[in-house]
Structures are given as structure tokens and as C-alpha cells.
């Protein structure tokens, strides 16, 4: 057991002293998260109003309570992305709606005491939301109009007070990640996977430099050699990724859920997986170049199908390919579903898959430690 700690301590020392690796595994992910989070913010709906820029013209014919009520309504629902403008020319405004330039034209006829809505059916979801609000107002006002007509004695119904329309301050979509939130999560998991290369390179160098052979002739239990390497690798990667996580949490305000420790625990299991893969491949491969090339190809494919470069939602078949081989796919799914929907099923599933696969790689590596002659000639 003491030798396990000695080996872990040595691994930690060596990795922490490697400034190049520390920079690559801390500053680069932080920079990438910042760049992706800022550069791609406009592509993420979570940062936009559900209503994109909407121009609504209104045309008032005559003067009366109805038009005053509409103006009050317009003031109330008007917000950054919805603009109401009064027009004195009905026909050009109708043309604008036809040409899809404006969303709507509202005609307020005080003489006939009716409201008419001109719309373009080519408008999308944003228009439907506005239409719903507008229809509420129109139905409500027409109804009050009818009441006044039937019972003029009680025409004292105040349009403005009687209109109980919704105050529309901001219409947001459901809880979805911003670009910074999204890339904060997926880049962390991606860079965890890049950590496979560290124990892998170290193992191959130990074989080449014959320090592994030197350890193998010593009286230590070979299990301790393997687990010492794992503990050291997991320790140093946890430090690297911990720096990234804390930066994203405190400086970039990335959403890691109501309790970030849950997210960090899942990422920790991914670190264990990455280090087990790295150590195992290090025991198997003799050529660093070949091993790193293989890992890089794997990571690029796993990242693409794991949603590291872009969200895969709505991409049909592509969305599901990663589930069969990409640790990023299931880890990202577990994290994002836990953070944004509070659903823990995928979260626990990801922990189980990460640790399960890690165990398989440990067993392969343990078997390799018994093949001393092959390691000697590596």
C-alpha cells in the first residue's frame, strides 16, 4: 500500500512539474470555452427572446376609447423586440405585411368600433405568440364593445381598466443553456477526454526509458504499480479540470445546476475513465506516435458525435450515433439533462457507464502487468 502512494506521489510530482501539460490542460480549455461561449452566443436560443424582432403597425380611423385602449396596450406589451408604430397610410402598411417586412397591421376603426388584424401566414413561431396576445386584446375589446352597445347605461366600463390583458415583459423559451453554459460543460468533458494522452505518454516513456522495468524488478505488488499510476493520474487531472470548472463557475457563470457538486462528480467519473484508458493503452502500445494518433482520431469523432462542437438536437440519425461509443455523448447528456431538466436518470446512467468501462480497461491493464517480458521489450 505504501508503494502505491509512493508511485501516486511520483506521478503527481512529475505531472505538476510539467508546465506545458498544465497550461494545455487548464488555460486552453478556459480560452476555448470563452471563445466558443462568446462567438457562438447568437446561435443559442437560450439567450434570445422567443420573439425575434417584430414590427407592428397600427392605423387609427377616428378617435375614441378603443384607440386609446390599444395605445395603452401597445405601451404595455412593447418591449425590446416588439415595436408598435402608428401609421397614417393603411395601404403601404398592408403591403409591408404582405412583403413580410412587418408582422401585423392593426386597424382600429372608431366609427364602426371594431379592430381588424392583418397578418402574413409565412411568419413563424414568434408571430404566433404575438398573434395570440393580439387576439386576446381584440377579442376582449370587441366583447366590451358589444357590452357597451347592448347596455349603454353601463357604458361606464373603462376600456383601459377593463382590459385585463397580460403584461408581456419578456417572452423566454423554456430553460435552455446559453452558449457559455453549453460550451462550459461540453468543453470541460472534451478536455477530460484529452487527458487520456497524459498517462498513455508517460507509460510508453516509462517503457522506453526502462524505468518501468526497474519498477517491475522491485518487490512491489504489480497491482500497486497499476493503481499508483491511476491514483496519480486521476489526482493531477482532477487538479487541472478542477481549475477549469472553478473558472467556468465563478468567472464565466456557467450553469452547473443547482448543486454543481453533482456535475463535478459525474466529471470525476469521466476523469477516472480517461485515466484508465490512458494507462491501459500505455501498457499495450509501444509507439507513442501511433497511440496518440489513434487517440486523437477517436477523440475528434467522439467529440463530433458527443455534441462537443455543436448541439446535436434535431440532427436526426447523427444525434444518436455517439451513444454507442462516445463517452462525451453520455456524459454530456447526463450533465445537461441534470442541469436543465433536473432529470437524474441519464446522470446516473453516465456514471455507471463511465465506471463500468473504466473497470474493463483496468482489468486489461492488470493483465498486461503480468506480461513482464513483453513490457521489458517495449
Amino acid at each position: 500500500m505504501r508503494s502505491l502512494l509512493q508511485i501516486a506521489k511520483k506521478e503527481l510530482k512529475q505531472n505538476i512539474r510539467d508546465i506545458k501539460i498544465t497550461i494545455i490542460m487548464t488555460l486552453i480549455p478556459i480560452a476555448v470555452i470563452l471563445i466558443m461561449g462568446v462567438a457562438l452566443s447568437s446561435l443559442f436560443s437560450g439567450e434570445q427572446s422567443a420573439i425575434s424582432h417584430a414590427q407592428i403597425d397600427y392605423f387609427i380611423l377616428g378617435d375614441g376609447e378603443l384607440s386609446r385602449a390599444f395605445e395603452t396596450f401597445a405601451d404595455t406589451v412593447s418591449m425590446e423586440n416588439i415595436h408598435f408604430s402608428q401609421t397614417n397610410h393603411k395601404e403601404p402598411s398592408i403591403q409591408q405585411v404582405k412583403n413580410n417586412k412587418n408582422y401585423y397591421l392593426v386597424e382600429i376603426d372608431e366609427h364602426q368600433r371594431v379592430l381588424k388584424l392583418y397578418k402574413n401566414n409565412r411568419q413563424g413561431a414568434s408571430a404566433s405568440i404575438i398573434e395570440g396576445v393580439m387576439n386576446t386584446f381584440i377579442t376582449h375589446s370587441n366583447m366590451l364593445q358589444e357590452v357597451n352597445r347592448i347596455d349603454p347605461l353601463h357604458g361606464g366600463i373603462d376600456f383601459e381598466r377593463g382590459m385585463n390583458y397580460t403584461t408581456l415583459k419578456s417572452v423566454e423559451k423554456a430553460n435552455t443553456p446559453s452558449a457559455m453554459d453549453y460550451y462550459g460543460v461540453v468543453m470541460c468533458t472534451l478536455f477530460v477526454l484529452y487527458n487520456i494522452s497524459i498517462p498513455l505518454t508517460r507509460m510508453i516513456n516509462e517503457k522506453k526509458n526502462k524505468t518501468l522495468a526497474r519498477m517491475l524488478v522491485s518487490p512491489i505488488n504489480k497491482k500497486y504499480l497499476l493503481f499508483g499510476k491511476l491514483v496519480g493520474g486521476v489526482g493531477v487531472t482532477s487538479v487541472h479540470i478542477g481549475i477549469v470548472l472553478i473558472t467556468t463557475l465563478l468567472i464565466f457563470n456557467v450553469n452547473w445546476g443547482s448543486n454543481p457538486l453533482y456535475a463535478f462528480l459525474l466529471i470525476f467519473t469521466q476523469i477516472v475513465l480517461a485515466i484508465c484508458i490512458g494507462v491501459c493503452l500505455g501498457f499495450i502500445f509501444d509507439s507513442e506516435g501511433k497511440a496518440i494518433a489513434l487517440i486523437n482520431v477517436f477523440i475528434v469523432i467522439a467529440a463530433f458525435f458527443g455534441g462537443s462542437y455543436m448541439p446535436l438536437e434535431g440532427m436526426g440519425v447523427l444525434e444518436q450515433i455517439g451513444r454507442w461509443f462516445s463517452p462525451l455523448w453520455w456524459t454530456n447528456r447526463g450533465l445537461l439533462s441534470m442541469i436543465y431538466t433536473g432529470q437524474m436518470t441519464f446522470y446516473y446512467e453516465a456514471i455507471a457507464i463511465n465506471l463500468g468501462i473504466a473497470a474493463v480497461f483496468i482489468m486489461i491493464a492488470a493483465w498486461r502487468t503480468t506480461r513482464k517480458e513483453e513490457l521489458l521489450n517495449g
Binding site: 505504501r2 508503494s3 509512493q6 511520483k10 510530482k13 512529475q14 512539474r17 510539467d18 526509458n209 526502462k210 524505468t211 522495468a213 526497474r214 519498477m215 517491475l216 524488478v217 522491485s218 518487490p219 512491489i220 513482464k372 517480458e373 521489458l376
Partner: protein, 311 residues
């Protein structure tokens, strides 16, 4: 007490028999030299002795205990100096020694004290905090040795520990090996340098094609060669004659010239002695001294294996 005993050891690597029915018996306090050209099988023997390679057949005893399965207590008493410089460049000298010594069970103050003592022993005490990447080849070799001896092993196996270093470092290492032996360690030493074996080894085994073909002290091995004799002729300073001319004399096998001395080896049965003297006289050389010698270990090796040690 027998420290290492091997009976009929066999190891095949592919179609080649790397170790072919080798018998060894190394006694406590010996420096046993294993000599052989590249590919002779000496490193394979050493790898079997330190549990890096499994034998195909044969029996092995270490410290008089038969090895069926290696025990921790036996491994703790063995130190292995590999041929490669197997140290970490990103750990300081003392950290390297402390790490490897800790694998042999040393801990706490004992670990630190023993590591410092070892650094002093190999002459690297002042560089204890320096990183090996700043070391010369000789210093790295000394650190390589230090990592194997800090736990004070009873048996030290050294696989060509002086390859590729300067004469000063070699001399330091050879003195250290002698000192370790004086301090009670038994040493198995392989080398390419015949003079090293001749200088430090109490017994030498010559291995070729996986077989031990001769064994004994340096003198024993030299006396095995009975078909040749060696003549040493010292001449006057500043005058030389062609070595080719001497080589052309009937019966002469080889000739070297160093420091006004001609070392000539010739077949014992030949009548070359008078021919050589005549040749020197004809060339007006003044002979200051003549000695008849036994053949060198190098010649003995050549005679036994048919090839030079560095072939």
C-alpha cells in the same frame, strides 16, 4: 554460502536458444564477471536472475533458497543496475534515489539518510537537488547505480554499468563496485570491457551462444590458452618499425605497439622468437627489454569464442 546457483538453465526466444543449459554458482563476497559478445545471452541470464524473464527450464537458487515463486523478501535483498540509464529526468537526484529505494521498503528517516549516504557514495552529494537532464553521461550512470544500491542489497546485478562514459567516471564506478564488494555485497557484473573484468572480477564466466564456455579467475582463463605465447619487447624512445613487417614473420598472430613496447602474440610451437629478434636487429632497433608473458584475457576470449568481445 552460495548467493546465486543456477542449474541447467534454458531459455528460448523464438527459434533461438538464448540460454543453453547454463550452470552458475556464485559465492558470497564474489565479484562475478559475465563476459560475452553481443547476443551471447548474458542479459537474458541476468533478466532471469532478477525475475524479468521466465526460464523455460532449469533450477535457480538465490541466497540458498530455491526459487519457485519470487518472494518479496528475496527481491528486497537484490539490487539491479540496468544497462539503460533508467532514471527520471523530471525528478531530482535525491528524489530518484528515494523513489526507487522506497519501493524496496525503506521509509521515513532511514530512507532519507540512506539516500543521502548513497549520493555521497557515488559522488553526487552536491548535486542532490539537481535534475539528471543537467548531468553528464558519467553522472547519470552513477545515479543509475545509486538507485539500485540505496537499500543496501546483498546481491547487486550490474548489466554493463560503464557503457559510454568518460574514463574518470569509469574509474569512479569501478572503485565504487570494489567498495560495495568490500562492504559485503556480492556482485554480478557484465561488461564489454575486458580490462574491467580483469581488474575487478574475482571470477569470470565466458558466455557465447547461450553457453558458459569457460569459467575461472583471469589467470585461469589465460592459462586455458596453451597454443600461443606472448612476447613484450621494449625499444628505444623515438624509433618505430612497421607493424606490418612484424606481422609478416611466420607464426606471428598479432602485434600492438604502445609506449615503446611491442606486444607480439605468436603460435607456441613456431620458431618465431629468433626471427623477431633478427627483424628488429635488421631494422637497427635497440632492444632495451624482452619479456615472455602469458596471453591476455582478450586473447583468451578470442581463442575460446573465435570472435572479439566487441563483435
Amino acid at each position: 554460502m552460495s548467493i546465486v546457483k543456477v542449474k541447467q538453465l534454458v531459455k528460448k526466444i523464438g527459434d533461438t536458444t538464448a540460454v543453453d543449459h547454463v550452470d552458475l554458482d556464485i559465492q558470497a563476497g564474489e565479484i562475478y564477471g559475465l563476459l560475452g559478445p553481443n547476443g551471447a545471452g548474458k542479459t537474458t541470464v541476468i533478466n532471469i536472475l532478477c525475475d524479468m524473464v521466465k526460464k523455460d527450464s532449469g533450477e535457480l537458487w538465490i541466497f540458498d533458497k530455491k526459487i519457485e515463486k519470487w518472494k518479496e523478501s528475496i527481491k528486497k535483498a537484490v539490487g539491479v543496475v540496468p544497462q539503460h540509464i533508467a532514471i527520471y529526468n523530471d525528478l531530482s537526484a535525491i528524489e530518484n534515489i528515494m523513489f526507487f529505494a522506497s519501493l524496496y521498503g525503506l521509509k521515513g528517516e532511514q530512507l532519507k539518510e540512506s539516500s543521502l549516504e548513497t549520493l555521497r557514495f557515488v559522488g553526487l552529494y552536491d548535486q542532490q537537488k539537481a535534475y539528471p537532464k543537467t548531468f553528464s553521461g558519467g553522472m547519470k550512470r552513477r545515479l543509475n547505480i545509486a538507485c539500485a544500491i540505496a537499500h543496501h542489497p546483498q546481491l547487486i546485478i550490474m548489466d554493463e554499468p560503464t557503457v559510454g562514459i568518460d574514463p574518470q567516471s569509469r574509474s569512479h564506478i569501478l572503485k565504487s563496485v570494489k567498495k560495495l564488494n568490500d562492504m559485503g555485497s556480492t556482485i554480478i557484473y557484465t561488461t564489454h570491457y575486458m580490462e574491467e573484468a580483469e581488474h575487478i572480477c574475482s571470477r569470470i564466466g565466458i558466455i557465447d551462444h547461450g553457453k558458459i564456455i569457460a569459467e575461472g579467475t583471469s589467470q585461469d582463463l589465460q592459462s586455458i590458452v596453451t597454443d600461443r605465447k606472448s612476447i613484450l619487447i621494449q625499444t628505444e624512445i623515438g624509433k618505430e618499425i612497421s607493424l606490418e613487417g612484424i606481422k609478416n614473420i611466420k607464426g606471428v598472430l598479432s602485434v600492438t605497439f604502445n609506449d615503446n613496447r611491442y606486444a607480439i602474440e605468436c603460435l607456441k610451437e613456431s620458431q618465431c622468437f629468433s626471427d623477431i629478434l633478427t627483424y628488429f636487429t635488421q631494422k637497427n632497433m635497440i632492444i632495451k627489454d624482452i619479456k615472455m608473458q602469458t596471453v591476455s584475457l582478450e586473447s583468451a576470449f578470442l581463442s575460446l569464442t573465435g570472435r572479439r568481445l566487441r563483435d
